[in-house]
């Protein structure tokens, strides 16, 4: 049970990390496009 809990938390943390990286990339790309326009 505790192992399941740890696994769920780990997956959730990875998802949050992936979302943050995606947001950084998105803001970078938006900035480049807006500056170019």
């Amino acid at each position: 049970m505790a192992l399941d809990r740890q696994k769920t938390i780990r997956t959730r943390n990875l998802a949050v990390a992936a979302m943050l990286v995606a947001l950084v990339a998105l803001f970078y790309a938006i900035t480049i496009v807006r500056m170019g326009g």
Binding site: T8, T11, R12, A15, L26, A29, I30, V33, R34, G37
Partner: protein, 307 residues
Amino acid sequence: MSDLSEVRPAAAFRLATAPVTGVADYVEILKPRVMSLVVFTGLVGLVLAPGHIHPLLGAVAVVCIAVGAGAAGAINMWYDRDIDAMMRRTRGRPLPAGRMMPGEALGFGVALGVGAALVMGIAVNLVAAELLALTIGFYVLVYTIWLKRRTPQNIVIGGAAGAFPPVIGWAAVTGDIGWGAIALFAIIFFWTPPHFWALSLYRTADYAAAGVPMLPVVAGPAETKRKMLLYTLVLWPVSLAPWLFGIGSLLYGVGALLLSASFTGSAILVWRDTTDRSARRMFAVSLLYLLLIFSLLLVDHTGGGWL
């Protein structure tokens, strides 16, 4: 002053027994099936709008519309967790099933909603951002909190929230709201009541148990079926509006009339059927109707208008 040695075990116990919400639960409270329809209609609004938008900013606009819709869905699930627990269709959702704390859902929804509107404003334009914020606010405050539990007209007025995505997509390109956007809004607005009433016809017991005054609960199935038929008839001229406003060709107009005829045919079958079989079929037909009407507009537009 409290003794920390007493407080810590209690806090540790609460932490250890609190539900651990998985990624799938976070996805589920965003109502992904509703989101997919919202994304599609928003995309059609964006493509049909006159003008040009950078493909990346267009994609950002569509993602913001999707996230905004998900945020509204999450806040809706937070507010409706009591009645969701009473209905068979919704009792397995993360909140009534105890897999997520209410505060988590509310925080998640608010953060996503604010984030989506902000990114829309920064990346696309202010009009689209304001429309997105208005849509989320309308769905949460007007539909979920005010109307849903008070009147059988809940989904008639509340349906406006679901009709906004193509308008937001349109505004993302043009920075304003044109007649074409209003035509797309009108199609979804008049499509929503027969769509939801078809569902509520075969879920009447669920809604009655939860005390939600859906039309079949309050006025009975006969009156509901009559109103469904009326709304499908209203859709005949409304579905022609894109042609009248010049965002659909004559071929679209013919296709829209054929689709509206089959939707009305489906409503007639429901009207004459004493079982709920036709209502179930009409719910599926209604989804197909909206999908095909908007696909027709999309194909018509990308094909350059065949007639």
